[in-house]
């Protein structure tokens, strides 16, 4: 047995050493994919939360520049996608793990929209409505501040590791900043209106299907309330509705007509402000996500509004 153990240790050690030496520089680069850096960043005291809208629309760096005197850092955009991080028990648990211990003066921007508070309609009458994200990365990854994050690399990286070695995982379009902001480096929608309209049509078609197959969820709303309750103990919470294109705003109004009133009531009942920017004219890349230039402007506007709030 000793002979085999020695051979195995030499073999695995050698392979591990070669792989480690080769991969270490690649894994230290700030960008690996659209999520990884958020799970290698240290626990944060101020968080931007929500789905891909918030991931692309809110720049923690901009908030920090305006508000760092009032709220504690580090600042991190910890918003993922509608698929991964709608409000629910898994996202709440993940946020609990990501929040820096002992945080008292944090700022928590919770981006809300009807989709992030919905669930799929049951296919069978009476079927219990579960949370699909419980089985996904956000529900399964328990180490959220580990560098390198072996759990993520072993289970959730969407490409083989050799592609990280070839330095081409950062596509020309997508780049995750160290503060968690996901920058989509597309040209301005003003210079590519036809392509933007096409993307908008495609995105709307997807969301129309979403509207047909989903329904607002009491359980997700309860999770949002639980999240607000938890975060209020650690600082200031704000509910934010990120602006979208007009067609998307109209679709959401049809899908859940009383959404803004619901959020206003939720905010009022829990003592947190609701900033509703729906319908405001910011440029989007697809009617759903803010273009990077617009995201910067929007983040400045949001930080101004939060700043005023603090001055009330």
């Amino acid at each position: 047995m000793q002979k085999l153990l020695t051979q195995l240790m030499l073999l695995l050690g050698g392979v591990g050493l070669v792989a480690g030496l080769a991969l270490a520089p690649a894994l230290r680069r700030p960008y690996l994919d659209a999520f990884y850096a958020r799970f290698t960043a240290p626990p944060a005291a101020s968080l931007v939360l929500g789905t891909s809208r918030a991931a692309q629309a809110v720049l923690p760096g901009v908030l920090q520049a305006r508000l760092s005197g009032r709220y504690a850092g580090p600042w991190l955009n910890y918003a993922f996608t509608l698929y991964q991080s709608p409000y629910g028990p898994s996202y709440l648990a993940s946020i609990r793990r990501k929040l820096a211990p002992g945080t008292r003066q944090g700022l928590f921007v919770l981006a809300v929209d009807p989709w992030s508070l919905s669930v799929a309609r049951p296919k069978v009458a009476g079927q219990a409505l579960g949370f699909p994200e419980d089985q996904l990365m956000i529900g399964q990854l328990h180490q959220v501040s580990q560098n390198p994050n072996l759990g993520y690399l072993a289970h959730y990286l969407n490409f083989p590791l050799y592609r990280a070695l070839l330095h081409d995982t950062a596509t020309v379009v997508e780049r995750l900043h160290p503060d968690g902001w996901l920058e989509i480096a597309m040209p301005s929608p003003l210079t590519t209106p036809a392509r933007t309209r096409q993307r908008e049509a495609e995105r709307l078609a997807t969301y129309r299907q979403q509207a047909a197959s989903n329904q607002p969820s009491v359980a997700r709303l309860a999770s949002l309330r639980a999240l607000i309750g938890f975060l209020k103990e650690h600082g200031q919470v704000v509910l934010v509705r990120v602006p979208t294109g007009s067609a998307m705003t109209a679709l959401e109004a049809t899908y859940q007509p009383g959404f803004d009133q619901l959020m206003q009531r939720t905010g009022d009942s829990l003592g947190v402000p609701y900033f509703n920017y729906a319908g405001q004219p910011y440029l989007t890349t697809d009617g759903n996500h803010l273009w990077r230039g617009a995201a910067r402007k929007f983040s400045q506007r949001l930080s101004d509004d939060i700043f005023l709030l603090k001055n009330d």
Partner: protein
């Protein structure tokens, strides 16, 4: 717990270390505890189901062993069969049959309303129930002495390497092994680890890579015609083989490390020269299960050609249904049943034709033609196995050879590039890994041919192991949720 997960990477060495560190009498209980831990890591509640069916089968077996005649044993056989097949029906087939009845009732304008069940399919239920049914039938027939030790029987049902996706083992093969002590043997353990490494390579480098290319096309086939569809079918043909045989290698390798020999489940199936030959090489433990417990009891080939064809067709229809409660699997099974019936029916005619064309004198060419034809037939049938609906399968079938004339050479190259993730190194990795798979299968199929090559020196061999591990680590996709056969 998946074999290709970090969880298993910790679990397995711990179990092996404890296994060889403990006195022999504690190894069985350790394996049983490890097997239940392995199973409960999916959904703890279904561990109760596994335990309940195990208990019932154990007591049925013990009771039958104390009864002299088949007539006396029969009620216990029926009880066990009802328990196993009832479990399978409730969890796997109930909604399918309700849906089929509903569709029939609607077509006949007959009012019909039955509840549907919102139950998740317990992992591995089709495998462990079939294994238990095989055991109980063998005990009933008097071919196997009932296992009197509950722990040993529970381990036979739940042994973690084969619990969730086989191979479907027989009592006569496994139970004696659970009674023997298995010490550490360098050659056996090293051989088991090599088999596991090869299985892992097949799964994460080939199967999961091909899945990235195949899945989008099978999910939306109507967006494609011609070349992409053909590539997706070819890709799935290799994906399903490397996925399932990769799992089986991991399972057999893990068992071998612990000292247990499990049956061979794959024997280079794509080198089969006929569909009948294919089924003697593909998922052998299931094919032989159906042969022994369904085909032969139905009369096999002993009651004339017509009955033989009917038996063959019925068995493959059942085999299709075993794979999944869906019309696509039924169609896949029926297609294979049809292949076998036609193959058997036309055998004399085909032999005469081969003689007439002079092919009988050229057996290698005849064999190659058989291999090519079988591969094409099997690949075509995989369309039904993989498609999300019969409509999708039909669309793919009817559009495989359409639109080729409209493709320019440039577009064809672009299409192939898109299929291979639109990323040139992926094409290189896929082709290189595919070539390695072919070489290994070739080596195993024709060992005499392989024997002409000099045996590698230890240094070359160890460099090869290191290269295989490094390739698995760097080239593998590790985000795949599970093995295809886990859903059955």
């Amino acid at each position: 717990m998946l074999f290709n997960s970090l969880h298993f990477l910790v679990f397995f060495p711990v179990v092996v270390g404890l296994y060889f560190g403990l006195p022999a009498r504690w190894r069985g209980p350790l394996l049983l505890a490890a097997s239940y831990y392995f199973y409960l890591s999916w959904r703890p509640i279904y561990g109760l189901l596994l335990a309940a069916t195990t208990l019932l089968d154990y007591f049925s077996g013990v009771r039958m062993s104390r009864l002299a005649t088949k007539a006396e044993r029969r009620p216990w056989l029926y009880l066990s069969l009802a328990s196993n097949l009832g479990t399978l029906f409730v969890f796997k087939y109930f909604n399918f049959f309700v849906g089929a009845t509903d569709a029939l009732a609607s077509a006949l304008h007959v009012p019909f309303a039955a509840p549907t069940l919102a139950l998740a399919l317990p992992v591995g239920v089709s495998f462990y129930t079939f294994q238990s049914v095989g055991y109980i039938v063998d005990v009933y027939q008097g071919r196997l002495a009932a296992e009197q030790n509950l722990g040993r029987f529970a381990l036979f049902v739940a042994f973690f390497p084969q619990l969730v996706a086989g191979p479907i083992e027989r009592g006569e093969q496994m139970l004696p092994q659970f009674r023997q002590p298995h010490g550490f043997d360098y050659g056996r353990v090293a051989s088991g680890l090599r088999l596991m490494a090869w299985g892992m390579f097949k799964k994460v480098v080939l199967a999961d890579r091909l899945a990235q290319m195949v899945t989008p096309i099978f999910d939306h086939p109507q967006r494609y015609q011609g070349l992409p569809l053909l590539l997706a079918v070819a890709g799935f043909t290799i994906q399903i083989y490397t996925d399932f045989s990769g799992y089986t290698d991991l399972a057999r390798g893990a068992a071998r490390v612990l000292g247990y020999h499990m049956v061979l489940n794959f024997r280079q199936p794509y080198f089969a020269a006929s569909v009948g030959d294919f089924w003697r090489r593909w998922h052998i433990s299931l094919s032989s299960w159906f042969r022994d417990y369904v085909y032969i009891p139905l009369g096999g080939n002993r009651r004339g050609p017509a009955r033989r064809y009917a038996n063959l067709f019925s068995v493959f229809l059942l085999s299709g249904l075993w794979h999944g409660a869906s019309w696509t699997f039924v169609a896949w099974g029926a297609l294979h049943g049809l292949y076998l019936v036609v193959e058997a029916f036309t055998q004399p005619g085909r032999a005469a034709l081969a003689r007439g064309l002079g092919l009988a004198a050229r057996p290698r060419l005849l064999h190659a033609l058989g291999v090519a034809t079988t591969l094409a037939l099997v690949a075509y049938a995989w369309i039904f196995f993989r498609a999300n609906s019969l409509a999708d399968a039909w669309y793919i079938s009817t559009h495989l050879f359409r639109g080729w004339g409209q493709l320019t050479r440039h577009e064809a190259v672009l299409t192939v590039g898109h299929f291979l993730l639109n990323y040139p190194p992926e094409a290189v990795v896929t082709l290189a890994a595919g070539a390695l798979l072919l070489a290994v299968d070739w080596h195993q199929e024709w060992p005499a041919w392989a024997a002409r090559w000099p045996r590698p020196t230890p240094a070359v061999r160890w460099a090869g192991y290191a290269a295989l591990l490094l390739a698995t680590l760097l080239l593998g996709f590790f985000n795949s949720t599970q093995f295809i056969y886990f859903q059955f």
